[in-house]
């Protein structure tokens, strides 16, 4: 299934690898910040009610 990348295999694969790495870091950062925000808001709102 793997296409024939020839002598540039390392370049192509490392480009895809680096992009995957940066993109996943970005997505994880955004998701984690979202979780933190949700938790902070929930904590404040529950203390507001109680």
């Amino acid at each position: 299934m793997m296409p024939e990348l020839g002598k540039y295999a390392l370049s192509v694969l490392s480009a895809y690898g680096a992009t995957a790495l940066i993109l996943s870091a970005l997505v994880i950062y955004v998701l984690r910040r979202s979780a933190v925000a949700k938790a902070a808001l929930a904590a404040q709102e529950s203390s507001e009610d109680g």
Binding site: L5, S11, V12, A15, A18, I22, R33, K38, A40, Q44
Partner: protein
């Protein structure tokens, strides 16, 4: 102190974005997968660049988004300064990490591409240099957000920095063009991408670009939501303290 106006818009935004976001994620990720799988597995090698042409599906969309993210920040900053929509300021803030990640991807995939094609990781070519400079502008913008405690002050100051920075970024772009010409007249290593791309590469590239755009959109929406929620939590805790 909180006026209704200040309150209503973010609420509307939260409601709308929660409806739009799943679509943006879904369509964005599918476009990205289609574009990348198509490009990676089902396109031929370029006669000149060999299999490295496959890097185009990462390099061009990320470079595009790196510039567009800054442009979006500029528009959002202007809207914040003129209309005082909080969502706008927070959207600019949310776009910055995405933009800097895109710039980094463009720089790194470019370097990896340049190595076999030009025989070097880096050249001080105008295009490359201006991207590196764009990266520095993102760094400054993010550092200013991180440095200021009061969120309204931070929103104001970063907006002004974004506008002034845009002017200087454009100036730098021209300056760099001029400066590199001064070194080697006209002899540029940069590939003229638009003209080189044949249809076989173009179609998956379109999917990939659409994927990057929608992914950016989804990430900015989610980031803006987080910023709104954080501000809301902050406002509630301040109110709790003063009570």
């Amino acid at each position: 102190m909180m006026s209704l106006w200040e309150y209503a818009n973010p609420v509307k935004f939260l409601r709308l974005s929660s409806k739009v976001m799943p679509w943006a994620w879904g369509v964005g990720v599918s476009c990205l997968v289609i574009g990348l799988v198509w490009g990676f597995f089902f396109t031929p090698d370029d006669y000149r660049m060999g299999s490295t042409v496959k890097i185009i599906y990462l390099h061009v969309p990320s470079a595009l988004m790196a510039i567009n993210a800054w442009f979006m920040m500029l528009v959002a900053s202007l809207i914040w300064l003129i209309r005082r929509h909080h969502v706008s300021a927070l959207a600019a803030k949310a776009a910055a990490p995405v933009g800097i990640a895109m710039t980094l991807i463009a720089l790194i995939t470019g370097a990896i591409w340049g190595q076999p094609m030009w025989g070097t990781w880096w050249v001080w070519d105008p295009r490359l240099t201006s991207f590196l400079i764009l990266f520095l502008f993102y760094l400054g913008y993010l550092a200013l957000w991180a440095g200021i405690g009061n969120p309204d002050t931070a929103a104001d100051l970063t907006s002004i920095l974004c506008i002034v920075g845009s002017v200087f970024a454009v100036l730098s772009r021209y300056a760099v063009n001029f400066w590199s010409q001064g070194l080697h007249q006209g002899a540029s290593l940069s590939l003229d991408k638009e003209e080189n791309v044949a249809d076989v590469f173009y179609q998956p590239l379109l999917f990939s670009i659409a994927g990057f755009v929608l992914l950016f959109f989804a990430l900015v929406l989610l980031g803006t939501r987080s910023e709104i929620q954080l501000r809301r939590a902050r406002a509630l805790s301040l109110r709790g303290h003063t009570k």
